[in-house]
Amino acid sequence: MTTETIAVRKDALVIGAGIAGLQAALDLADMGKSVLLVERSASIGGAMIGLSKVFPTLDCASCITTPRMASSIHHPNIETWTYADVVSVEKTGNQFHARVIRKQRHIREQDCIGCKRCEEACPVFVPDEFEHGLGARKAISIPFTNAIPQYPVLDIDNCMACGACAKACPTQCIDFLQQPGERDVEAGTVIVATGFSLTPMGAKKHYGEGKFQNVISALAAERLLAPHGPFGRVLRPSDGKIPSSIAYVLCAGSRDKSIGVPYCSRVCCMYAIKQAMLLSGSLPIADITIYYMDIRAFGKGYEQFYQNAKAMGIMFVKAKVGRIREDAQHNPIVRIERQEDNCRPEEVTHDLVVLANGMLPGFDVSCLGITKALDGFTASPHEKSLPIGTSEAGIFSAGTATGPKDIVDTVVEASAAAMEAANYLRHGGAHGRS
């Protein structure tokens, strides 16, 4: 580890460059504040840039994420560090001190021109995380097409040190021995926008613990449906067959004490309906079934969206899925008890099952000097009047870091956090109810 002695001083530190962090950083920057935006992944954009289309407008997700990504990376008041972990935040007086580890990409960023020749030369294929394992990437690769920045990451765990990338690189920027660097940051305020992670596929053992190839996660389904996805069309993973019967299992990672997630994840109903609509667009003759407990289409335009889906012929079955198994052809078989009609348990065979996974906190915020609630998300002492507050004055939280949330509510919270952070900078916490 190399420790760089330079301490970076900014008005605000924004942790996480998903849509919440991007929006918060942009709002602060537009208010004239200097911002350091730190993202742990190799690209900014968060979960949103991996989505296909977004409800209820069916805008393509890339199309509305990239404007925010582009504006933030080029904003004169925003400095962005990607592939960097904030490991601690401490408060002294009104100032915050953060330690940030900049992970090694094994390339010299100042020399890299993003030409992708290393990626083309690399002979090693590994499952692509951005495609949720449905596609492959090279051991050295730029994370995805519209990633920002366009630097490749050399995945040293999968590298066989053949040197092909180094030979192909026109600027000799590959550095196999590169070490992570540590930097100190001083900021007047902090915004936590660390997002969510999906409840793991293995969380529910009754649903196959993630071992069935044709039972996929909701985010993997997003990639299947994305116009620039891994297959460019909807195919099921086990055999590449075009599925003709697809089922969604709602509350597969929410409202379920048995997996420690008693709360509603808020977005699953809507993204399942959205994916079902997109599927019925690309596979017009497929049967699409949504197994649900309650359809929570509560946001602006959501109920109308749900009614449209019903009118399109998507089947909504009120039934909790008790168990999923698979047959010899890897067809998932779901065991359900209909809450309507006969109420007898029955088994239904589908070609592909998508679990509507719920949301877990994306990051343990304890190291940031703030307390988390029982659900693991950040907690505000004034949840109703200052939902973006945290246990520490001057640290604010926005988006799915404060609990499951859709994009609209996330963006609103991000702007709200930016306002409070700016006011904290102005008054040092001597205002408001916080």
Partner: protein, 581 residues
């Protein structure tokens, strides 16, 4: 077109365009267009490497005009203008051609046709930008004050945030006191805090804030001016000049019509949830004491009915006055109802409770816990389908309950509480004066739900809270601060930059006939001014919207809209109808 070097950039939009349109063919045809120096295609022009192609071509001196053929300009026109700025080129030497919404998406089944159309649209863009000269943004001064209309939670939170950010605020409230709809509530979900306890510190903070001028019993009677400099006439002749306006006019409770769900029948035992809150408020401290009594009648059973005035369907529910049903979900009523049941059960544990619902939408933080608690208390739930609404008549609720195999059940209850939804507070005067956009649900309509959720198309006017759509207190608090954030960014520097696409008058041609004045829909945007040569039309850039109505009626072709000249329109039409595309 001599000397023009245009670069054409065709975007695949990750397949959104290139799956239908032959982008290589578009590039090949574009290369041959007059004045075109460079033509390229890329997977995502909006991505950093995509923009990099443009920046590099400009910096290398290969091009001095840019056409991007991609998505709708509402998404990325600004992105590419910024790329031009970074490359050192005037940002208006740019034309955004939409070959996605206007070609690939609408001609999915006709790939050749979509490609041909894209080629012609690109040719038109190239023809237009060739005639484009550099333009400079207009700049107006930003008054460091904000008018917040509505003194509920949203208005108060916005006012406090704006005051803290250094702006003077006029908080305009129609009623004699601050607090809005929360004044009527007993306790708030999810934590059960008394609404009055929640409001008190907020009202106190607003009242004690020297930057906030509270104007109760006042309305914004007349609003003129433009972004940076609005003039509001507020009751009793008062005037307030504001750089921006925050609309926080809130909601109204849905009021069922007489006879709807048994409300207002003789000897009716049906009330709405807000009315039930008023009862709970009166029975504040009686836990453990005598039971709940409503107009002298002891209450042993209560039935709650969800979705009254929400999630309505055409042909099933009676339309509202405007002929439309309330087809939206009011978002808060499920948890509000469950919370009311929880409060009720804690104070009067002996009361039996029935809950008639379609879906329980306990979505928010702490909501599911309330649902669970209420279920543990022994609340009996009945679920019905949309086309089988419950019937409330003669003091009972009849419901076809899908949870008991579609049995038709009659619930005899001493009191029936209707969980009424939200409708926007009627603000037709404001809507007309400020030309505010409204959605089909009658709530004010944001410019873009994700990119600009608290902004509207009208510059300098922002939305906070339930004037925009149903939301709870927590969400309102966030929305109000989000609006404040946008105001702060807009006004903070003291100057506001506006697009230059406004009418320009050629005074050599203008003879002062005044026809344009009659056609202009924006008061003050165009006026007559006395010059040495007689009266001439002059344009106020801040007020002009560049609609072009004056251009169309001018008998002397003396008016043009900057960036949208008549010569440019001619060139575009010529390119589109050219024999050989």
């Amino acid at each position: 077109m001599a000397g023009v070097k245009t670069g054409i950039y065709v975007c695949h939009c990750g397949g959104n365009i290139s799956d239908i349109i032959d982008v290589k063919e578009v590039v090949a045809k574009a290369t041959a267009l007059p004045g075109v120096a460079v033509a390229r295609e890329y997977a995502f022009m909006c991505s950093d490497p995509g923009q990099g192609l443009i920046v590099e071509d400009i910096r290398a001196g290969r091009i001095d005009r840019v056409v991007v053929a991609a998505c709708s300009p509402t998404l990325h026109e600004l992105t590419f203008r910024n790329a031009l700025i970074r490359a050192g080129l005037n940002q208006y030497l740019f034309e955004h051609i939409n070959i996605r919404e206007q070609a690939s998406w609408v001609h999915k089944s006709d790939k050749a046709g979509a490609t041909a159309k894209a080629i012609r649209l690109v040719a038109a863009g190239a023809a237009k930008v060739a005639l484009q000269g550099p333009l400079e943004n207009l700049t107006v001064d930003a008054v460091q004050a904000v008018a917040v209309i509505g003194g509920g939670v949203a208005g108060m939170q916005a006012a406090l945030a704006l005051s803290a950010a250094g702006f003077r605020v006029a908080l305009i409230e129609k009623m004699p006191f601050l607090g809005g709809k929360l004044l009527d509530l007993d306790t708030l979900y999810p934590d059960g805090e008394k609404a009055s306890d929640f409001l008190a510190p907020l009202v106190e903070a607003v009242s004690n804030d020297a930057n906030i001028d509270v104007r109760c019993e006042c309305e914004a009677e007349e609003i003129t001016g433009f972004v940076g400099n609005f003039k509001l006439r507020i009751g009793q002749g008062g005037e307030f000049v504001a750089g921006a306006i925050v609309i926080a006019t809130g909601f109204e409770n849905y009021q069922p019509k007489t006879g709807e769900m048994g409300l207002g029948e003789p000897a009716s035992n049906v009330i709405t949830l807000p009315a039930f809150h008023a009862i709970l408020k009166r029975h504040d401290a009686v836990a453990g004491g005598p039971g709940l009594a409503v107009v002298g009648r002891t209450i042993e059973n209560i039935a709650f009915v969800h979705c009254v005035g929400s999630r309505q369907a055409e042909g099933v529910d009676q339309p509202q006055a405007d002929g439309k049903v309330n087809d939206y979900c009011s978002r808060v009523c499920c948890t509000a109802t469950l919370h009311a049941i929880k409060e009720l059960t804690m104070r009067f544990p002996a009361i039996r409770i029935f809950d008639v619902y379609r879906d329980i939408r306990a979505y928010g933080r702490g909501h599911e816990e309330i649902y669970e608690k209420v279920a543990q208390f022994g609340t009996i739930f009945f679920r019905h389908e949309q086309d089988q609404p419950p019937v409330v008549k003669n003091g009972s609720v009849t419901v076809k309950d899908v949870l008991t195999w579609n049995e038709v059940l009659e619930i005899q209850a001493d009191l029936i509480v209707l969980a009424t939804g939200m409708m926007p507070h009627p603000i037709s005067q404001l809507v007309e004066q400020l030309r505010l956009p409204r959605g089909s649900d009658r709530f004010l309509l944001e410019a873009h739900p994700k990119l600009r959720p608290v902004e509207i198309a009208n510059s300098g006017i922002f939305l906070a809270g339930t004037c925009q759509g149903p939301m709870d207190v927590r969400e309102t608090s966030a929305a109000a601060r989000a609006a404040a954030s946008k105001v702060s960014a807009l006004l903070g520097s003291g100057k506001i930059s506006l697009d230059p696409f406004v009418a320009r008058v050629n005074h050599d041609r203008c003879d002062g006939c005044g026809v344009c004045l009659g056609e202009c829909s924006y008061p003050g945007a165009i006026a007559m001014s006395e010059t040495s040569g007689g009266p001439r039309a002059i344009v106020s850039g801040a007020l002009c919207k560049g609609c072009g109505a004056c251009v169309a009626v001018c008998p002397h072709q003396a008016i043009d809209v900057a960036g949208w000249g008549m010569d440019q329109f001619d060139a575009m039409v010529d390119a589109i109808v050219a024999e050989e595309a």
